[in-house]
């Protein structure tokens, strides 16, 4: 008597997405295009943070663009377009995260070689985007002072897979009795040593530092 037949398949479930994302990243990096995937909960201020980032880059003459994911509406794309840079909206129609093929599809027709920075604003969600590689070189996790200091501990996966983090809405910190040191310690607990930018898109605090990081990071693409 032989036992039951077992197929030992050992396959990564997101293999197709991973492979596409890797190919996209190779291409982006070959073109000297720095791609940033922005992840956070809804309401962290991703769109405002991005709008200010795009406006500052554009003012410096840096060609940049953005794609923005939401379940429905193109409100965010319209807000971002006010910065004067090319923006496209991806509506996921219920899906709680972006996947590499959606990004690829929405980049069609853009002259990527003419761009230096591309930002992908993911769907606001602290869990689902974690496992989906979008071909980015930098994953930025954002945490607003209004959300509470323990978000990183509650959603460690999202912060653990990030390359850098940004605290947002710093202008509201006092009103929220935000415990700075605790928030930083919590981020450090899930991703020891990760760089954290302390920002306010409203006052501009911390944005120069963020732009400096982007420029340095982009320079390494060419060197690498």
């Amino acid at each position: 008597m032989s036992g039951p037949r077992i197929l030992e398949v050992r396959t990564k479930i997101l293999k197709a997405n991973d492979e596409l994302a890797r190919a996209m990243r190779r291409e982006f990096e070959r073109l000297g295009l720095l791609v940033v995937n922005m992840v956070s909960s809804p309401g962290t201020g991703k769109t405002t943070f991005l709008k200010e980032t795009l406006a500052r880059l554009a003012a410096r003459g840096e060609a940049c663009a953005a794609v923005v994911g939401d379940l429905e509406t193109d409100n965010d794309a319209r807000r971002l377009a006010e910065s004067g840079v090319p923006v496209r909206q991806i509506n996921t129609h219920g899906l709680c995260h972006l996947e590499a093929d959606m990004v690829a599809k929405h980049l069609e027709g853009w002259d990527l070689a003419g761009l230096r920075y591309l930002f992908i604003e993911n769907v606001g969600n602290l869990v689902c985007p974690t496992s989906w590689d979008l071909g980015e070189s930098v994953r930025l996790a954002l945490l607003s002072v209004t959300e509470g200091e323990d978000k990183p501990l509650k959603y460690p996966g999202l912060f653990n897979t990030a390359d850098v983090a940004a605290l947002t809405k710093l202008d509201l910190a006092q009103a929220c009795e935000f415990d700075h040191a605790l928030a930083l310690a919590n981020i450090d607990a899930v991703r020891p040593g990760m760089r954290v930018f302390e920002t306010s898109a409203k006052t501009g605090t911390g944005l120069d530092e963020w732009l400096g990081y982007l420029a340095n990071r982009r320079a390494t693409l060419r060197a690498g």
Binding site: H97, V190, P192
Partner: protein, 121 residues
Amino acid sequence: MHELSIAIRVIDLAEGHLRAAGGGRVATVRLRVGLLAGAATEALRSALALAAQGTPLEAATVEIEEVPVRIWCPACQREVDLPGLVPLACPECGERSGDVRAGGELELESLVLAAEAEDAA
């Protein structure tokens, strides 16, 4: 609920492997899910039940092996498993480390085929 996206891929992959192996039905599907992968196992089970309808995995039992987070401890000079998700620090010596060696897995491990009409050997 991105577990449904994951479940649909599991079923697609499994059907591909089944076809390559000459068909059949699946009795058990075994997955490995890392604690850092961001997939809730109960939600994943429900999603798999839904996604498997009308496929050769319809009646399959789902076994999920949860993979602990493993980090490299630079102080102990070895890999250590964490008792939970956070902090990312060595449970032995307390040294912090972001060097994650396991825990992000989302893998289709194996498919146990149903016995029906399979006894040619």
